[in-house]
């Protein structure tokens, strides 16, 4: 069989990497639920989860066990196949995005073999993320419709309209970044932000595209269905939203996918705008320590940035009240898209001007 010509070592290496990334995302998402409750508790002057383990650290395990043990109810009036497909899709798309993220610099073994800490370095990395993002809304839509509940349907329609509206502004804000970097590959975008300071200016994209970053950040809130844009699950209007009819681990999948999305979006924000695994004085550190320590430090730097973003998302959730639906649409279509367009034109002019000089 010709199939066996594939490089076995390569496949094993990638399998290990995929397993580690999946387990890591799940673990971080698990503790993000704990973090969310702790942050909420701190901001509301409560103690938060404190019974299970020290500082309530075992709380996520207890929650998971509870969800697994609950009775599984599939409503009679639901469309059974799609009802099951909904949470599967939500989970799948949440986990897919991490495939194109560069988690750290290449590790070169003594035998000269290059081990890349990125599952797939495809040259359309950003577009892949957008593709997965645009598929992600199906999980909510199908789940909401298949439940055969009017609140769920309303919620899924809200979610879809919101996602499509904010994807536009998100894409437009990224075009400015792509124009500047001249590539769609996430690996190259990170490499161009090497270190922190070069040629008399910051290398990180945040300092070159502050407006683009702001638009992207706001759109991320909307894409994640998080407060202040969590209209898809506005309790006071829609009871629980699209996952009202779900129980047991199917509900768990929806809730969990949300936290995985939160983590992956934070990593993407750090990768695109805050230098990914780059940090100040990284060249000096690279010369001073063994290679595997350097790679580990880089991965930790990326994770630290991501966790800062997760905390930021949580602080915003417990600070700002929910938008009204018409306000949400007005913000997306009448503010963010024009701002992103102007930013794009200005970036183009600046690039043209610097090229002429």
């Amino acid at each position: 069989m010709m199939l066996l010509q594939l490089d076995v070592a390569f496949i094993i290496e990638k399998l290990i990497l995929i397993t580690v990334i999946l387990m890591g995302s799940l673990g971080i998402a698990m503790y993000a639920t704990w973090g969310e409750r702790k942050v909420a508790a701190v901001m509301q002057d409560r103690r938060g989860p404190s019974r299970a383990g020290p500082f309530g650290l075992l709380q996520p395990l207890a929650d998971g066990l509870k969800l697994f043990m609950k009775e599984e109810i599939i409503p009679d009036s639901s469309t059974r196949g799609l009802f099951i497909l909904g949470p599967c899709l939500a989970m799948l798309t949440a986990l897919l995005t991490s495939a194109v993220i560069p988690w750290g610099p290449d590790y070169v073994t003594e035998a000269g073999r290059i081990i890349s800490l990125q599952v797939a370095d495809i040259n359309i990395g950003i577009l892949f993320i957008f593709g997965v993002l645009s598929i992600g809304v199906y999980g909510i839509m199908l789940g909401g419709w298949a439940s055969n509940n009017k609140f769920s349907l309303l919620s899924s329609i809200r979610a879809a309209a919101q996602a499509i509206s904010y994807e536009l502004a998100m894409g437009l804000s990224l075009i400015a970044v792509i124009m500047m970097t001249g590539t769609l590959s996430l690996r190259e975008i990170v490499d161009q932000q090497h270190g922190f300071w070069s040629d008399g200016y910051f290398t990180w994209n945040f300092f070159k595209q502050p407006v683009g970053f702001m638009v992207f950040l706001i759109c991320t809130f909307a894409e994640l269905n998080r407060a202040p844009f969590d209209l898809a699950e506005a309790e006071s209007e829609l009871n629980m939203g699209f996952h009202q009819e779900y129980s047991s681990m199917k509900l768990g999948f929806y809730l969990f996918a949300e936290y995985i999305n939160l983590f992956v979006s934070s990593v993407i924000l750090s990768t695109l705008f805050f230098g990914g695994y780059n940090f100040p004085f990284m060249d000096q550190v690279q010369g001073a320590v063994p290679q595997f320590v350097f790679v580990a430090v880089c991965v930790l730097v990326l994770l630290t940035k991501a966790i800062c973003f997760i905390l930021f998302f949580m602080f915003v959730r417990w600070t700002l009240p929910r938008f009204r639906y018409d306000q949400l649409m007005k913000l997306g279509w009448k503010s963010l898209i024009p701002i992103a367009l102007i930013n794009m034109v200005v970036t183009g002019l600046v690039i043209l001007w610097t090229m002429k000089k």
Partner: protein, 164 residues
């Protein structure tokens, strides 16, 4: 069989099967879902031909945006068997006839073309860079005309939407 061929046959069967599913399934929602699966199969074909950009744009635009809107509308309409319009024999006949004629035209057009197989060896043919170069040099006039067409369609949609 090489892996390339296996993938080709898998994607072809998937595309044709899902395409049949679109027209044969009773439920409009599952029709839409079959159509989305067809788009994925076609994107797979694009990737086999080294056109990654086209593949991902196909998914973003068709599967990610247009089909979401389709699904949106169908969910709101709540189509049932009793609200479905009664199909006239004559209309069915006309539909089959026009579809057959379209098929004939496509077949006639494809029969005379010389086989222009994609170059599977060069991996950069479908990159965004090459596509952009071709679009803005060789095909700049059709490209600009189609963008004007899109603009007018957008304005038209807004005008229709504004009418109370």
């Amino acid at each position: 069989m090489e892996i390339h061929e296996i993938l080709f046959w898998f994607l072809t069967v998937m595309a044709l099967g899902c395409g049949l599913g679109v027209i044969l399934s009773r439920n409009p929602i599952s029709s839409v879902l079959f159509l989305i699966a067809t788009f994925f199969a076609i994107s797979g074909h694009y990737i086999l031909m080294n056109a990654q950009f086209l593949a991902i744009v196909n998914i973003i635009v068709y599967a990610g945006a247009i089909m979401v809107l389709f699904l949106f509308v169908i969910m709101l309409m709540n189509l049932n068997a009793d609200t479905e319009p009664q199909k006239n024999r004559l209309i069915q006949f006309a539909g089959v006839l026009s579809g057959g004629i379209l098929f004939l035209v496509i077949l006639a057009a494809l029969r005379t073309t010389t086989s222009n197989a994609a170059d599977f060896t060069s991996t950069d043919i479908g990159l965004m860079k090459n596509l952009g170069k071709v679009l803005f040099t060789q095909y700049v006039l059709p490209f600009e005309i189609s963008s004007v067409l899109f603009l007018s369609a957008m304005i038209g949609a807004i005008v229709i939407g504004k009418k109370e």
